[in-house]
Symmetry: C2
Subunit: 281 residues, 2 copies
DNA sequence: AGCAGCGATACCTGGGGGGTATCGAGTGAG
DNA sequence: CTCACTCGATACCCCCCAGGTATCGCTGCT
């Protein structure tokens, strides 16, 4: 199976429309139809159910969509990592560390300090990204290592070490009735007048629901201050809160574990050193 | 990057010889040279150092060899899993479980029994393979789930659940002086007259050393009975020992953890059920 | 019925993947 | 020193197939 075929299939499977998929791929529609047919023949499997009005994925197609994306990422990653290895050999090594914007700031700072003090530390570029993107960046080779938060971030297919575990707090507008309590349960929050915010899904759309749509933490804190929403965040976010916000411990929430994660294979010296430093913090 | 190019590169990187690699790939040598050049141009990276007498991998090439193999496996796996999904939809579902020949027999038996009793159990094919092969079989889609043993088997890039932990015992010929002891340390064994056996590496060759070469457990037990070697095995192997063998607990060996492992993604219902059953054993 | 949307088919074209022949550089034997 | 040999690169040719255009056939909506 060639990556071209796989790319084409993923495009069609995502668009569920040959014309749009062809446009996205920058080719005409007929070659795309043929390529998919050829792929189906090669695999001996029907991937798409076409009625002349609509396209739908078969079970096999759904599997190939998921697995194919992963495989394409792996191919991409192979190329990118080879290129980075060449740069490293040329004397500009450096690691790319990715983490969710606004999370684990002080842990990250400690880690970078500690690592920089190591004997053969290399430069570390820090990349901040939206929620749910870290895994992708690691898998396709744009980043070498990530800090992420279980159980929120998927660690599927990554190697990890646990760094720290912490409880969660409810962030409320200062002066809200619930701020008088010394601890809260999740039910207290959902029963209150403050709906929880809605974060975008990886495809950019928002789930349905009553809460306001938010894209980043600044926006979130702003909306809390305005009394439009409340949020559940790890304890470590507390010191960063503005004066007009209050935080109350949440007793029945799953603890959040910060882990350092990296793709399997690729146990380069600098990466191994960084992970080692992190676990010793 | 196309899988064709990657396959070609892996072949050359493994053979370190364009002619032989071309032969292995079933093409002539010149197109292979060109394909590699094109790949290098495309990546903007020198992958191979050619002197007109020998070929060597650059750092980037070494990385691409490892990552490329993984990527090719992922592509292979995507196709295979799609095909299996189609078969499953056609009514012949079935999981393929792989484990090392001769290991975890009674745990496996219990698991298969318990799973078969589940309401929507599907058929489970059991595949026995040599040491170190399970990961490959999982990664390239020939198996769905594996039982393996940490820290011996690599779980790199796999999702796992721990099932059980056990100590290890030294297996000796009955009547050997050491069998009079109630427990042993590894040093006692290495200091004895019995050398430890040598298992084949993944490529089929054997490491150097004094012990006899063994290929499977039957052979191993035979050699122990003959007084030519001793072996360190998990406790669970004890009930399967023949009368002419004796086992003594080893106090300073790492405990062996049996885990059930599966590739990330592919959380099919049957697989999820099987894993659930396993964790409840 | 007519039309519009969409995937499949028919047919053509060009680039590139693959082949053979050959070169040229390095190496080892004598 | 040179001659022969090994092995990757180059030159050149062919043809297959990816991609393009035109069109068909089916279907659901006015």
């Amino acid at each position: 199976m060639e990556t071209r075929e796989l790319r084409y299939f993923v495009a069609v499977a995502e668009e569920l429309h040959f014309g749009r998929a062809a446009e996205r791929l920058g080719i005409a529609q007929p070659p795309l139809s043929r390529a998919i047919q050829q792929l189906e023949r090669r695999l001996g499997v029907t991937l798409l159910q076409r009625s002349s009005r609509a396209v739908a994925l078969t079970d096999a197609g759904a599997v190939l969509l998921v697995e194919g994306r992963a495989a394409l990422d792996a191919v991409e990653a192979a190329g990118r990592r080879a290129r980075r290895a060449a740069l490293a050999a040329a004397g500009a090594p450096g690691l790319v560390l990715v983490t969710k914007a606004g999370a684990a700031i002080e842990l990250l700072a400690k880690l970078l300090d500690a690592y920089a003090a190591e004997p053969d530390a290399v430069s570390v570029d820090v990349l901040l990204c939206g929620p749910g993107e870290q895994g992708t960046l690691l898998r396709d080779g744009r980043a070498d290592v990530a800090l992420l938060h279980r159980p929120f971030d998927s660690v599927l297919g990554l190697d990890t070490e646990e760094l720290s575990t912490e409880g969660q707090v409810v962030v409320l507008p200062a002066g809200h009735p619930l701020t008088s309590r010394t601890q809260l349960r999740l039910a207290d929050v959902t029963a209150s007048d403050l709906p929880l915010p809605r974060w975008p899904r990886p495809d950019g759309t928002y789930p349905d629901g009553p809460g306001p749509q938010v894209r980043d933490k600044t926006q979130l804190l702003q909306l809390i201050a305005l009394g439009r929403t409340a949020a559940v965040l790890p304890e470590s976010a507390r010191p960063q809160l503005r004066d007009d916000l209050a935080a109350v411990p949440l007793v029945d929430a799953l603890p959040v574990t910060t882990v350092i994660a990296w793709p399997p294979h690729s146990r380069s010296r600098p990466l191994a050193d960084l992970v080692m430093t992190a676990t010793r913090l």
